[in-house]
């Protein structure tokens, strides 16, 4: 147990340092940008017609002219006090914007994460078990096509089919346009989330299934499956008792790592469906040079990704008897 705690502590510390690195890199990248936030957001002509004092005020608002080191340290100081600054575009505290957007996205991402995990594992195991047969070819074909498809184009395609042609589902936004937040029903919310969630799920499955298949093929060729067969266990028992068990461990790691891909996919998919989630906010912040918001989103996203990996490591350690017992023996 002490060993596990030590391990967790070390990982947490490393995570903290990495997050610091992420924030610094993000900050430097945005500072290096030659794009003038005033020109992108206010516009050349509007700027020209303003008085110097007005321009100066705007420059102060967008943080132009403050030395980068001072800006970064200031930002870091505030973050340590729980303040991620104020979004320049939304004119709201960054944490509020992120919280609200994340709440919208969380359902989508969680759904896609669970579906891709469960279905990906099942398909991967099936493909590995039926290696070389038509089931395997079918599943591998599907995975290959999906991993070669841009998520946003798949989103457009689904939009075309289900919203434009069939008219079953709404075109975009998390809620019907123009309705009061209070009058939005759960059904409305679901109807708007179906397509984005479906897109994310479909893309997520492919990757997990392909990796699981590789593992499954290795397991099925292993000595212990050979011995199980020699001892009269059926092919079914070999797959379910030994295959599944040994594929789940690497599956945990995969599942932890897939968090990053799902968030990445959501950025594109939310844009297509104009779904007001975290990804869309990131794009808006990026296009509008909203430094505090983009910085906040990147750091929080990275924190979620690291947390996913850490969780996978911890679960792995708890499940794998070699690590669990090895630690107990120490």
């Amino acid at each position: 147990m002490r060993h596990r705690l030590e391990f967790t502590g070390k990982k947490l510390f490393r995570m903290g340092v990495l997050l610091l690195g992420v924030s610094l890199v993000t900050f430097l990248l945005m500072c290096a940008s030659p794009l003038d936030p005033l020109q992108t957001n206010v516009g050349q002509t509007a700027l020209g017609s303003m008085s110097p004092e007005q321009v100066e005020k705007l420059e102060a608002y967008w943080g132009v002219g403050i030395p980068p080191a001072q800006r970064y340290i200031g930002w870091l100081w505030d973050v340590c006090h729980g303040d991620f600054g104020t979004s320049l575009l939304y004119r709201q505290p960054v944490l509020e914007v992120v919280g609200e957007r994340l709440a919208n996205s969380a359902g989508l991402m969680f759904f896609a994460w669970v579906i891709s995990g469960v279905l990906g594992l099942a398909l991967g195991v099936a493909a590995g078990a039926f290696r070389g047969r038509w089931q395997d070819r079918l599943i591998r074909g599907y995975c290959l096509v999906i991993t070669s498809t841009p998520a946003f184009w798949l989103a457009i395609l689904l939009l075309l089919i289900f919203s434009v042609w069939l008219g079953w589902l709404p075109i975009g936004l998390a809620v019907p346009a123009g309705t009061d937040a209070s009058s939005v029903t759960l059904a409305d919310r679901l109807a708007h989330a179906v397509l984005p969630a479906l897109t994310l799920g479909i893309t997520g499955v492919a990757n997990i299934a392909l990796h699981t298949r590789e593992k499954m093929v290795d397991v099925m060729e292993s000595d212990y499956v050979l011995f199980a067969r020699a001892r009269g266990e059926s092919a079914r028992s070999a797959v379910l008792r030994h295959g599944l068990r040994n594929v789940i461990l690497p599956g945990i790691t995969l599942q932890g790592a897939s968090v990053s891909e799902i968030i990445g996919g959501s950025v594109l998919v939310e844009q297509v469906f104009s779904y007001p989630g975290l990804g869309q906010a990131a794009v808006t912040a990026g296009l509008g040079s909203d430094m505090p918001l983009l910085l906040g989103i990147t750091v929080i996203t990275a924190a979620i990704v690291f947390a996913g990996n850490l969780a996978a490591d911890l679960v792995y350690g708890a499940v794998d008897p070699r690590i669990r017992k090895g630690a107990a023996g120490r």
Binding site: G132, E221, S222, D223, Y224, L226, F227, A228, R229, A230, R231, G232, E233, S237, R241, H242, R245, N246, L249, D320, P321, R322, K325
Partner: protein, 313 residues
């Protein structure tokens, strides 16, 4: 008495690719014949890489999918068809594999042995089997990585004996063990044979083979080159094939003289005697003949045109 296992002219080959897109057939075992009677231990001895394990896998019908088998395998006098072996493996015909890598690393020993059955009868049966080899109940709760090499072998012998098998195929059950432990493991096999099972003992160690077995089949480049009685190994003059003799001289107690040269790989075989490259009494005729037949000779069998001829060793 009828042999429990009878193999007639067994050949195994593989299709594989080499260098680019060239595909070829590779014969790993060629024209192998042997019989095992109940209560008998028959050893198949051959250098590493001579395809011995595949023999075990072909009897159990668990060869990889790119393999191709010819010849006949008879069990109890009748042909061992895929349907039949599927029913028999794990009950009447059992395998004792090489080492701990043949146990599922994520499954407790007990659960693994029971093959998913949970009834008290099964539990009792495996408990008794483990007990017989000095493994207590606590062993059932261990994971394979917690077993020592000797324990793992005993677990696997227990898994075999629990089924009250009539044919046991032991694939290199001793390497990596110290002499004492290995000796005990071999003793367990002898015991099982004395209880009436036929045992196919696959090993690379000819000395070990001659100690534990009743009959020894010597393997060279995928072929049986000699079948000898265990007692033939007491005196080199009783051995038939020059390769067996060379191996005899290579044993520590007979002078530790290394065998010159090396076995040809399955892909590089030519016609004629395959041992020709290493044989000191090789003659013209040995190379000219298409194949050298395996023939009965002096109470055993040999694949040599001029057996028992003493080379200048």
């Amino acid at each position: 008495m009828e042999p429990v296992l009878q193999i007639k002219h067994l050949s195994i080959d593989f299709t594989r690719y080499e260098r680019g897109t060239k595909r070829r057939r590779l014969t790993v075992i060629r024209d192998l014949s042997l019989e095992i009677y109940p209560g008998q231990v028959v050893a198949v001895a051959g250098a590493s890489g001579s395809g011995k394990s595949l023999l075990a896998h072909s009897i159990l019908d668990i060869l990889p999918h790119n393999s191709h088998v010819e010849g006949e395998i008879l069990y109890d006098g009748t042909l061992l068809t895929p349907e039949r072996i599927e029913r028999l493996r794990g009950s009447e015909i059992v395998l004792v594999p090489q080492g701990v890598s043949y146990l599922d690393p994520l499954m407790k020993v007990g659960t693994q042995l029971r093959k998913g059955k949970k009834d008290p009868g099964t539990k009792e049966r495996y408990r008794i089997a483990l007990n017989r080899y000095g493994l207590g109940e606590e062993t059932e709760e261990l994971y394979p990585f917690e077993l020592s090499g000797g324990m793992a072998r005993r677990v696997m012998i227990a898994s075999a004996s629990a089924e009250s098998p009539r044919l046991i195929i032991a694939d290199e059950p001793t390497p990596g063990l110290d002499a004492g432990t290995a000796g005990r493991i071999l003793g367990h096999f002898r015991e099982l044979a004395d209880e009436g099972a036929g045992i196919l003992f696959i090993t690379h160690d000819l000395e070990l083979a001659s100690e534990v077995a009743d009959r020894v089949v010597v393997f060279y480049a995928g072929e049986t080159i000699e079948e000898a009685r265990a007692e033939d190994f007491a005196d080199v003059a009783c051995l038939r094939h020059p390769y067996t003799k060379a191996l005899w001289y290579a044993m520590p107690k007979h002078g530790f003289k290394p065998v010159q040269g090396s076995q040809p790989y399955p892909g590089q075989l030519r016609s004629g005697c395959h041992f020709a490259g290493q044989c000191e009494t090789c003659r013209e005729e040995c190379l000219e003949r298409e194949t050298i037949p395996l023939r009965p000779y002096d109470g055993g069998r040999v694949r040599c045109l001029y057996p028992k001829e003493e080379g200048q060793v």
